[in-house]
């Protein structure tokens, strides 16, 4: 095995190395050093940025691991997306960790990096085993992270052992342990959905006799067992993505878990879930996605409708953004339901837009709540006057989420609607654009709290430098790419186009195990 066969995997490998570096640095640094958190966080961000830069330099296209992994523009796009989300997630969490878990910061970053490694492998996986392993690598660290800053009464207690995260069930009995409750919910739902996915995959693989995507389906109509299996996989993945009717964990977890972590959880793993969905349902079906797009379209319609409607009465902004996230994923599924390369590229664009808008909104929320505020609408009262920067940022993120022009979210929705319209999903486009107005209603309720309600306290929330930087980066990206969407659109189109030969041709995807074996 030469380096060349590993080259497509160089980005995830680099992040793995980064995770180890952070772990070692954590060991090397004196435990009581005051600068520990800054050093570790800064190191993580620097390493992630380095890999991000490398992604523009290194050519990662090609087959790796005997065709089990394919690198192309699509995987590179998602890799960058995860790297950016990871870096923003670390920046947003630094001060929070320093305050609530000063001795366990290195592990947080390491776990986050491992999760990112899993995410980065998912979009290029062409073997179901690799897909499942990568997917679990993405998911398991998240269960731990969700419980990370649980009230933290005993500061000496370590949760470095992943198995200890399961103890969260006990912590949930404690009077105030929302993080533990959130973690156990995330874990139970995650484990259940993994089980469902695996069961479904076992049926599919059992019928096909291979774990390679290329061999899963022939041109003939799938057997009933295969259909059942695929529906189970769809249900399992829908849990992860959080779309109706598998969405109820989303608002609960968002409400309970530490907000900087939710900022990350609400974007990156969902993009990972979407990537997995694309792998199994569009690439795996060998150019015959037609059988499944109806199911995906139904989920899209249900998510857009239910998510938007259930967000309306929420007063806790985390829950509101949770339900809005359900709706947003509905829009992404609408793009997937087109089943063509253009739709996929719009989905990629949408997810990128969603990273900046949704993370930004959560980080602003965190900034307000961290300094003695609350996460509900009342806590945001008069934010624009307490801190014009936070107020303006929040408004920008909300408008972007709502899909208002000159924010990136507008282009994201526009491109998806256009692609869906071209694919003939006119009814869903109408439904989606009407529901976008409903969405605007509740986003404006948040903006109303920040802009129209008199502030209950005058002082601006104290915001740490790293958190401020993360919010500013999100703001610049959401507004800058909103004004000039061409670069992102080009690269998303390229990403979608790189999948097109596995989509448009009637034959199975051109990935065969013999191609690169030596």
């Amino acid at each position: 095995m030469t380096f060349d066969t590993l080259r497509p995997l160089v980005l995830p490998l680099a992040v793995t190395a980064a995770a180890l570096v952070v772990l070692l640095a954590d060991l090397a640094l004196p435990p009581n050093s005051a600068r520990r958190g800054k050093v570790l966080g800064g190191l993580t961000v620097a390493l992630l940025s380095g890999v991000l830069v490398a992604s523009f330099v290194v050519d990662t296209s090609g087959l790796a691991a005997h065709g089990a992994y394919v690198g192309n523009a699509w995987t590179t796009f998602f890799a960058r997306l995860f790297l950016v989300a990871g870096a923003l997630g670390v920046l947003g969490a630094m001060e929070h960790l320093e305050a609530h878990a000063p001795r366990r910061q290195g592990e947080y970053y390491t776990l986050l990096l491992f999760s990112i490694v899993g995410m980065m492998i998912v979009p290029g996986a062409r073997d179901l085993l690799l897909l499942v392993v990568a997917f679990e690598l993405m998911g398991i660290p998240l269960y731990i992270l969700a419980a990370y800053a649980k009230t933290d009464a005993a500061k000496t207690r370590k949760v470095s052992d992943p198995a200890r995260a399961f103890d969260a069930a006990e912590a949930a009995k404690a009077p105030h342990a929302p993080a533990a409750e959130a973690a156990i919910k995330l874990y139970l739902v995650g484990a259940t959905s993994t089980a469902i996915t695996l069961f479904g995959l076992s049926l599919v693989v059992g019928m096909a006799g291979t774990t390679r995507l290329a061999g899963l389906f022939g041109a003939e109509t799938p057997a009933p067992i295969t259909v059942v299996g695929m529906m189970l996989v769809l249900a399992g993945l829908s849990f992860k993505i959080g779309v109706v009717p598998f969405h109820m964990w989303v608002p609960d977890t968002y409400e309970g878990a530490p907000t900087p972590f939710v900022a990350f959880l609400s974007v990156a793993p969902k993009a990972g879930g979407i990537a997995a969905l694309v792998v199994v349902f569009l690439l795996g079906t060998g150019g015959h996605p037609g059988h499944w797009t109806l199911a995906i379209a139904v989920l899209a319609a249900a998510s857009m409708t239910i998510g938007n409607l259930l967000a309306l009465p929420q007063t806790d902004v985390r829950r509101l953004l949770g339900f809005s996230g359900v709706a947003q994923m509905g829009y992404v599924l609408l793009a997937i339901a087109t089943g063509n390369a253009e739709g996929l590229s719009t989905a990629a664009f949408y997810l990128a837009a969603y990273v900046f808008s949704n993370m930004g909104a959560f980080l602003v929320l965190h900034a307000v709540a961290a300094d003695g505020g609350t996460h509900d609408l009342a806590g945001l009262a008069g934010l624009s006057r307490r801190s014009p920067f936070l107020g303006l940022s929040l408004l920008a993120f909300l408008l972007s989420l709502a899909g208002i022009p000159f924010m990136i979210g507008f282009w994201a929705k526009l491109f998806i609607f256009l692609a869906a319209y071209r694919a003939g999903l006119v009814g869903l486009v109408v439904l989606g654009s009407v529901l976008a107005v409903v969405g605007l209603f509740y986003y404006l309720q948040v903006a109303r709290a920040a802009y129209m309600v008199e502030p209950t306290q005058a002082a601006a929330p104290r915001v740490g430098g790293a958190l401020r930087a993360a919010i500013l980066l999100c703001l610049l990206a959401a507004a800058g790419l909103g004004l000039w969407p061409a670069p992102l659109h080009e690269s998303a189109s390229e990403a979608g186009a790189s999948l097109s030969n596995s989509l448009s041709t009637g034959t199975p995807a051109p990935v065969s195990p013999g191609d690169d074996s030596q």
Binding site: S384, R385, L392, L399, I404, P405, F406, F410, L414, F417, L418, Y421, R422, V426, V429, V430, S433, V434, A436, V437, L440, F441, L444, A447, R448, Y451, M452, W484, P485, A486, H489, E490, S493
Partner: protein, 514 residues
């Protein structure tokens, strides 16, 4: 230099808003100077555009093009024709006056100017944009800041419970400023949803390579497509243009809005809707427009009459002016529905005339409200003796509203009515003129009740006339009313060539209809 004129007009208010962001809010004077500078640059630019526009050549002039998303064919392409010049001029006059009228805003004034200026950038953009998608973007920009402007700086009204939708009172604070703001935003954005879907149809039907209005206008869309899509555009844009029955946001919105916002909204934003119906709906879908024109005209007549009737039964001064806008926008739509040169000239002229007149009315209502703290007409009376200046301007605006010869309103309504008479449905003219008659009744009645009659009650003895900078806005607007009323050719020379050109395209599209 002229080539960059349009981008400058569009960008100046937005740039001023960006500069405002950097100014600490305690510097009230600097805030006003910067806002005024932004508005002045746009105003001067629009006058310059009107002067430089070569009316003998006609067509689109001063083009500016910047590819935004080349792979989809989205270009930021600006150019201006005779209609655009008139409406840009209108916007320039009104933003100039509106910024002046906002000098008295005390609370969170910096933010107020920021939203106001961003909104105006959007309005300018719509009038000069030649790319359908960017047109839509600017349209949204022009609509959305309204939510904050009304929600934060608006005033709440008491609206008595009535009608079949009485249950709404239990859920919402009907008449409250936040209710008005939300109602306006949601109704207009539902319209936008219809527009967006229509844009997809048009773009895809033309081969999905460009959003350029000129190119799309030459595409012969199938007859069924046109007949299905035109009403979508008509209702979508019409919701902003105050088309019955999608006008219900407008009285609440205008009444709740602060002075400058009412001026802009009734003066310019409603025109965006009517402009959209004509420029996008009728020019891109001529066959659909011809098919639906009888409906558009009939609904416009309903607008005129129903709006006037509603205005007559209002007790709140701002609601009267707001409903009169609904009525007058009906005149614009009636002119558009005639599909002949006189009618279209009248429609565009009425946009200008009504814009200036209603802006003047709202600015004066704002002045009266600031002093008397009431808008209920029954409580007023005899204000003319203590605020003679305001009374004079108010009367002038009211007379233009009822179409008195010598004011801009007369020329506009005359052309529309003539056009309607010569059109295929001459009967439209009769109820429309009846509407103008009703207008005269409520206008004169309101004017008398507020300014004339027995002197003001004890309660209002400390009122005073407009002072200092407060004069500026009424004077600018009143001059426009009189100048363009006495000498309508000044504007018609700009409007007419564009109308002829558009009408020629329209007629040839009908002839070669698929």
């Amino acid at each position: 230099m002229i080539a960059a004129l349009l981008p400058v007009i569009v960008a100046a208010p937005a740039v001023a808003a960006l500069i405002l962001l950097a100014i600490p809010s305690r510097y009230a004077i600097a805030t006003r100077v910067v806002s005024m500078a932004g508005a002045t640059v746009s105003f001067a630019g629009s006058v310059l555009a009107a002067v430089h526009y070569d009316r003998h050549v006609g067509g689109l002039q001063m083009p500016f093009d910047l590819p935004l998303i080349p792979s989809l064919g989205v270009h930021l392409s600006l150019a201006i024709d005779g209609w655009g010049v008139s409406l840009v001029l209108l916007t320039g006059v009104i933003i100039f006056a509106a910024v002046l009228a906002s000098f008295t805003v005390q609370r969170r004034d910096k933010e107020f100017f920021i939203y106001l200026l961003v909104l105006v950038s959007g309005v300018f953009g719509v009038f000069v944009c030649q790319d359908l998608l960017i047109f839509f973007l600017f349209y949204e920009i022009a609509v959305l800041p309204m939510y904050l402007l009304i929600g934060i700086w608006g005033s709440s009204n008491v609206v008595p419970e009535a009608g079949p939708f009485r249950f709404v009172w239990k859920i919402f604070d009907v008449g409250g400023r936040e209710y008005a703001a939300m109602k306006l935003t949601v109704m207009l954005l539902l319209g936008s949803a219809a527009i967006l879907v229509s844009i997809f149809v048009l773009y895809q039907g033309a081969g999905a390579t460009t959003f350029n209005l000129g190119v799309l206008g030459a595409v012969p869309y199938a007859r069924t497509t046109q007949i299905i899509v035109f009403p979508l555009l008509w209702m979508g844009f019409g919701s902003l243009g105050g088309v019955f029955p999608f006008h219900t946001w407008s009285p609440d919105g205008h009444a709740a809005a602060p002075t400058a916002v009412s001026m802009l909204h009734a003066g310019v934003l409603m025109k965006l809707g009517a402009f959209g119906v004509i420029r996008i709906g009728m020019m891109l879908l001529p066959v659909g427009a011809a098919y639906w024109a009888p409906t558009v005209g009939a609904v416009a007549v309903v607008n005129i009459l129903y709006g006037a009737m509603c205005a007559m039964s209002q007790k709140d001064l701002k609601y009267i002016v707001a409903y009169s806008s609904v009525s007058h926008m009906g005149v614009v739509m009636l002119g558009a529905a005639t599909l002949n040169a006189t009618g279209w000239n009248g429609a565009i002229f009425q946009m200008f005339a009504h814009g200036v007149m209603t802006a003047l009315l709202f600015s004066l209502v704002g002045l009266v409200y600031e002093r008397a703290h009431t808008r209920i007409i029954a409580k007023m009376g005899g204000f003319g003796t203590i605020m003679p200046g305001v009374a004079t301007f108010f009367t002038l605006a009211m007379l233009s509203s009822l179409g008195l010869p010598g004011t801009a309103g007369f020329a506009a309504e005359l052309m529309v009515f003539l056009g309607a008479w010569h059109g295929s449905h001459a009967w439209w003219t009769i109820p429309a003129i009846l509407g103008a008659f009703v207008t005269a009744i409520y206008v004169l009645r309101a004017s008398r009740a507020i300014f004339w009659g027995p002197g003001p009650s004890e309660h209002f003895h400390d009122l005073y006339d407009a002072r200092g900078v407060e004069w500026a806005a009424p004077i600018v607007l009143a001059v426009a009313i009189v100048v363009f009323g006495v000498w309508p050719r000044l504007l018609l020379d700009l409007i007419d060539p564009a109308t002829i050109e558009y009408l020629r395209d329209f007629a040839s599209a009908i002839v070669r209809q698929p």
